[in-house]
């Protein structure tokens, strides 16, 4: 029983990270119909920038803000400069383009910041909390991770559902042509969508760095699990991304804990394929029919 609690809490924290990554991928997919494989590398790069700021004497929270703002900027630049020109090319081209961005960033990071594995500080203690005499394997930093991911999700939800800007962004993603006719600057909305998504990714990067340690490819696995989570939930559904990401976190934790850590990814594969066999467009697909 104790073990189950440990694995559940562990899965919850990891799942929150995967959920953030999945959400970033879903936001970009909804805006531009692109699976951004460079998402993880972009988050890696912004985390390195945060570390750079820390080493120059900046306090943790300033570095935290640096990472998020750089994420915002990087997302906007990638969309505007690289993705926009291949909009009309065959759909696979943009996939290859994001792979290219991934490789360039993963090569650039060790050139600029050194290739060795670095540690990244956590905002709070990473030692498990105590309730009375009972030690629970859930640290204040885990709580912060969970809280900040949830907080960001609420902010995004409010932005998309309650503000005029969010409405315009949703319209631009839903139907570019009609939105343009209604006077929405679709291009700007898409750039903004990429920027926000990239910021969510950057948050995931900073939050997972203390436990994974920082090296140029440390986000690759997070990206793949985030993508798996997004697929599981359905690429068109932000709540699906969150549920899918959390589900992958729990699944990896349970499979790793009960069957051995080297079967984690096989477990994720089996679960993903099993779910997709029943729901080929993810758990939260509401558009179940393909267009004819």
């Amino acid at each position: 029983m104790g073990r189950f609690v440990v694995l559940t809490l562990n899965g919850l924290t990891e799942g929150a990270i995967y959920a953030a990554m999945a959400l970033a991928l879903v936001m970009i997919w909804r805006a531009t119909r692109v699976v951004n494989f460079a998402q993880g590398a972009m988050a890696m790069f912004t985390t390195y920038l945060a570390l750079f700021a820390l080493e120059r004497g900046a306090p943790y929270w300033a570095a935290f803000i640096v990472a998020l703002l750089c994420g915002l900027l990087l997302g906007a630049v990638v969309e505007r400069v690289l993705v926009r020109p291949v909009e009309s090319a065959p759909p696979l081209n943009v996939v290859i383009l994001t792979l290219g961005v991934l490789l360039v960033l993963e090569a650039l990071a060790p050139m600029l910041f050194g290739g060795q594995i670095r540690s990244f500080p956590a905002a709070f203690s990473i030692v498990g909390m105590r309730v009375g005499s009972l030690a629970i394997p859930f640290s204040p930093f885990d709580l912060f991770t969970l809280g900040s991911v949830l907080g960001l999700m609420v902010i995004l939800l409010l932005l998309f559902q309650k503000t005029d800007l969010g409405l315009r962004m949703r319209a631009a993603a839903f139907n570019a042509e009609v939105s343009r006719l209604l006077g929405i600057r679709v291009g700007r909305m898409l750039t903004l969508g990429w920027a926000l998504a990239s910021m969510v990714g950057a948050l995931a990067g900073v939050l997972i760095a203390p436990s994974l340690l920082l090296y140029p490819t440390y986000m690759d696995q997070v990206l793949v699990f985030g993508f798996t989570g997004a697929i599981l939930g359905g690429l068109d559904s932000p709540p699906g991304a969150v549920v899918g990401g959390l589900a992958i976190g729990f699944a990896l934790s349970y499979v790793g804990g009960y069957f051995g850590s080297d079967l984690e990814t096989v477990g994720a594969l089996v679960i993903l394929v099993a779910v997709l066999m029943i729901r080929p467009r993810g758990l939260f697909a509401w558009q179940s029919q393909r267009q004819v």
């Binding site: 090319a89 383009l97 793949v224 080297d262 990814t265 096989v266």
Partner: protein
Amino acid sequence: MSLSALRWPPFVSPTLGRHLAMALGAAVFLLLVSSQIGAYDDYNLAAIALFAIATAGLTVLTGVNGQLSLGHGALMAIGAYTTSLLLRGRELPLMLVLLASVTTAALIGAVFGVAAARLRGPYLAGATLALALGLPQIPTRYKGVFGGEEGLTVSLPAPPNWLGVDFPRERWLAWIAIAAALATMVLLANVLQSSVGRRFKAVRDHEAAAALCGIDVAQTQVQAFVLSSGCAGLAGSLFAYWSGVTAPGGFSIPLSLQLLSAVVIGGLGTLAGAVWGSIVLVLLPTFTGGMASNLNLPSSVGNNLPLAIYGAVLVLAMLVFPYGIHGGLGRLLGLVRARWGQTSTNHKGVVDWDDPAPGG
């Protein structure tokens, strides 16, 4: 009586004859080249040939049939592990090993193909990516059978006696890989020209229309997956011979992504594009690696320069040559033809050979 009006026996169609003649010409040329170059270049030639098999299979699946696979490296791993397990502590004829690898990969590909036939676009991409991530974990887990992280060793195949005692083993491997690649190309080129190939394209272009024409969409997609997996298995088997070690690290996600990027860089949906892509895949890192070591850069920059250049090439190629090398060459050829006043080109660098000519 024109040539096409002749009745050809079923196995000697003009298409087959043309493809065989092209393959024979390429074989003679490549054998001559291979005899003139050193062992290291022969080794690279073998790599190009074996990756061309994998990219050709992938281009049939992704380019011709429209199923996006991010997990082809895993299918190569199946071929490579079949080969390594068969050769563990015994000698077997090369043909038998290659055939067994192709069959195993095709069978497993069939199972996955049945699952894949239900999935579309990014969902298929996600599932195949999970395959590429999950499958290499199995050898790590079952060390006794698959040799764990260190992997299984395979020695280069010995050349037959009639080639002489000191015939380099690398050259023999290059010959095997070239023969296998050409055989694959002839087979695939014929399949693409046949009704099977037309069904592949029909399913890619419009599933509902294809189904209305009486094509079994799911069955066609499984067929394409099996064909493509067989190619990946053959490439994987040769890869095992080529690299000497079959270990999970060799078949991680980057391999799958490299295969896909090679296919797109070369020109999606054409066999020539697959060959171009495999040439870029093998030679670009060799070239940039040599360049980086000549520049006397600090090691943190020099070691990562090839990767940066590869990434930059991917980005630039997509921005400048959206239809890959093959499409770019076709466009160039069209410009030359137009310049010399021959038939005006209707080929705006569009890779698909049966793409209807745009009006005007």
